[in-house]
């Protein structure tokens, strides 16, 4: 019996590494619960031979919905595909690695099925014959053990929570199915796409990152961020908000839709610390936060926080670091 379905997202023609990490974790969970795991893949023009390789990461069957409506990265047609797969598969649990699309798709599926949803899960355990997740809370200071009362449970795992391996080289049978699309799911269309342009240095290799957010006030606020980064011998990072505002290039963006970084030191200046940012930098060695707003969530997961005016503190810090030579 297939008890677990893992929504595996295709990005740029490849199944995402995050999805594969969750598929492997689901395989370990399924073994403990005595159920098998199916991979559910949605897209358009998909290559069955390539998808069969998901068998090497724990999938017993790869179930594929291939339709132009599933090519756009819009979540609601994917909800329809998952709901169709649920009718045939009768899964007890659905899970996906958090991304812009999958989080929305799992939310929609939860509502459609009347199934409970747990988001931001960082661990999956089999306890008493059922799945009990660990969901991080209160600025990661506590783990809530969240399970399900409903017949079906839906889980969105935190981005980067489960690292993918290289697999065992196995394959699984691929079965195609045709989703039943709802009218409202077709009322959203993708009308344009711009690829992100990669310019500037590769920040993922830097030992020290000095990051700027909306709290810098304006684009020129990055001048002092660059000076501090230079003093540390590091590089400059940015949040989605300032990249969207055009203050700094996309290639420097850290977070859910940017890069995942693990420098030895991460200095967050004027950054509130939304979860989309946190998932990209929480693996950093030492996290420093400088923000005038003492309510900023980033203080919950910084090692050293300073409440104050970054326009005063950053230049002082730059001078002190330079003075050490």
């Amino acid at each position: 019996m297939a008890g677990i379905a893992v929504l595996c997202e295709v990005q740029g023609g490849e199944v995402s590494r995050g999805s594969i990490g969750v598929l492997e974790e689901a395989g370990r969970l399924g073994a403990a619960l005595g159920v098998s795991v199916d991979a559910i893949v949605c897209g358009s023009g998909l290559d069955d031979a390539k998808l069969a390789a998901l068998g090497g990461f724990g999938a017993s069957t790869v179930r594929v919905a291939d339709d132009a409506l599933l090519a756009s990265g819009i979540a609601q047609p994917v909800v329809d595909a998952c709901a169709t797969a649920q009718e045939a598969g009768g899964y007890r649990y659905w899970m996906a690695a958090a991304s812009i699309m999958t989080a929305d798709a799992m939310a929609g599926l939860s509502a459609r099925l009347g199934a409970g949803i747990v988001i931001d899960a960082v661990e999956l355990h089999a306890e008493g014959g059922a799945l009990v997740t660990r969901r991080s809370g209160l600025g990661d200071s506590v783990l809530a053990h969240c399970g399900f009362v409903s017949a079906v449970g839906v889980v969105v795992t935190r981005a980067n929570a489960f690292a993918a391996t290289e697999g065992n080289g196995g394959t699984a049978p691929v079965e195609r199915f045709a989703p039943t699309f709802r009218a409202w799911s077709q009322a959203v269309t993708l009308v344009g796409h711009e690829d992100a342009v990669e310019t500037g240095p590769d920040i993922s290799a830097a030992d020290v990152l000095v990051a700027g957010g909306r709290g810098l006030g304006e684009a020129s606020g990055f001048d002092q961020i660059e000076e501090l980064a230079t003093a540390f011998g590091g590089a400059v990072a940015a949040t989605r908000a300032v990249v969207d505002a055009g203050w700094y290039p996309y290639s420097s963006q850290v977070g859910q839709t940017g890069k995942t970084v693990t420098p030895k030191l991460y200095v967050a200046c004027g950054i509130s610390g939304a979860i989309q940012h946190k998932v990209g930098m929480q693996g950093s060695g030492t996290i420093v936060a400088i923000n005038k707003d003492k309510n900023a969530p980033i203080f919950d997961y910084a090692d050293f926080g300073i409440v104050g005016d970054l326009n005063a503190i950053v230049p002082q810090l730059t001078a002190l670091v330079k003075a050490r030579g």
């Binding site: 609601q76 409970g116 200071s141 959203v188 796409h193 690829d195 939304a274």
Partner: protein, 261 residues
């Protein structure tokens, strides 16, 4: 144009937060405040009203204990015209699906063209409420909007995704959650704060919305919290207010931790 904005009251981030050992719910006894991410949704609605659709009515919708009136007033002061406040003891302990059911029932009573939410709740870091509510309403959904443009019976949104920027168009009615990149919310002037109390406030119960109380609240929760544990990981956070020496203290800390040679 009729715009509804779903807002949430959250504990003041400066208050010491804890989860009750018995109920495993967040203790909300301290000071509470309007979810800061919701302010971007209100600002987006106000900009629509100030710009392309001056006849817009902005309705603030929230599910919260009756004590949340101050946060509702805050949302009204920022630009709401009226509020619908679902206050019912039976709604306490609602999980994400239960909360979505309550909000959807309130939204279904009226015909809103556009339903806005902030990108996430500051307390639970929940970022899926838009997707839940849209599906229950059977309307299209766009999340993480970095800009919103109104068309004839449609809305066009630019959003950042993993591979770059998507432009997405949806027919109205539609649910849109806005990212914190969309705008810089203005603080309301004093007369707007004073005037908020005089705006129409509607306080409704679950029964008045036709909701079966056994499908929401703690009784109807589809998820359960069986226990709490301490994560391995970070030690204590040092947070200090800058008195002019914070940069020196930070550098000393980094040297002591051997992060800086």
């Amino acid at each position: 144009m009729r715009i509804a904005i779903c807002v949430k009251e959250v504990p003041d981030p400066t208050a010491v937060k804890r989860i009750d050992d018995g109920s495993h719910r967040l203790v909300r006894s301290g000071e509470n405040t309007l979810n800061p991410y919701d302010r971007h949704a209100i600002e987006a609605a106000v900009q629509i009203k100030e710009g392309p659709a001056p006849d817009t009515e902005i309705t603030i919708v929230t599910m919260a204990p009756e004590s949340a009136g101050r946060s509702v007033d805050r949302a009204l002061a920022q630009g709401g015209d009226r509020s619908i406040h679902i206050a019912d003891e039976a709604a306490a302990g609602s999980d994400l699906l239960g909360t979505a059911r309550v909000l959807a029932a309130a939204l279904k009573r009226e015909s809103f063209d556009l339903i806005l939410l902030g990108q996430q709740a500051a307390d639970s870091e929940c970022y899926v409420m838009a997707g839940l509510v849209a599906e229950l309403l059977e309307v299209p959904c766009i999340t993480q909007a970095a800009s919103i443009e109104l068309g004839d019976g449609s809305v066009t949104v630019k959003r950042q995704v993993e591979t770059g920027y998507d432009t997405v168009k949806a027919q109205l009615p539609c649910v849109v959650s806005v990212s914190d990149a969309i705008n810089d919310p203005r603080y309301p002037p004093l007369p707007a704060i004073m005037g908020a109390k005089r705006k129409p406030h509607e306080v409704v119960t679950l029964a008045e919305l036709g909701i079966d109380a056994s499908t929401v609240g703690a009784a109807g929760a589809a998820t359960s919290v069986g226990g709490l544990s301490k994560p391995a990981g970070r030690g204590d956070t040092i947070v200090l207010e800058d008195d002019g020496t914070a940069a020196e203290q930070l550098l000393a800390f980094l040297v002591e931790k051997k992060v800086v040679a």
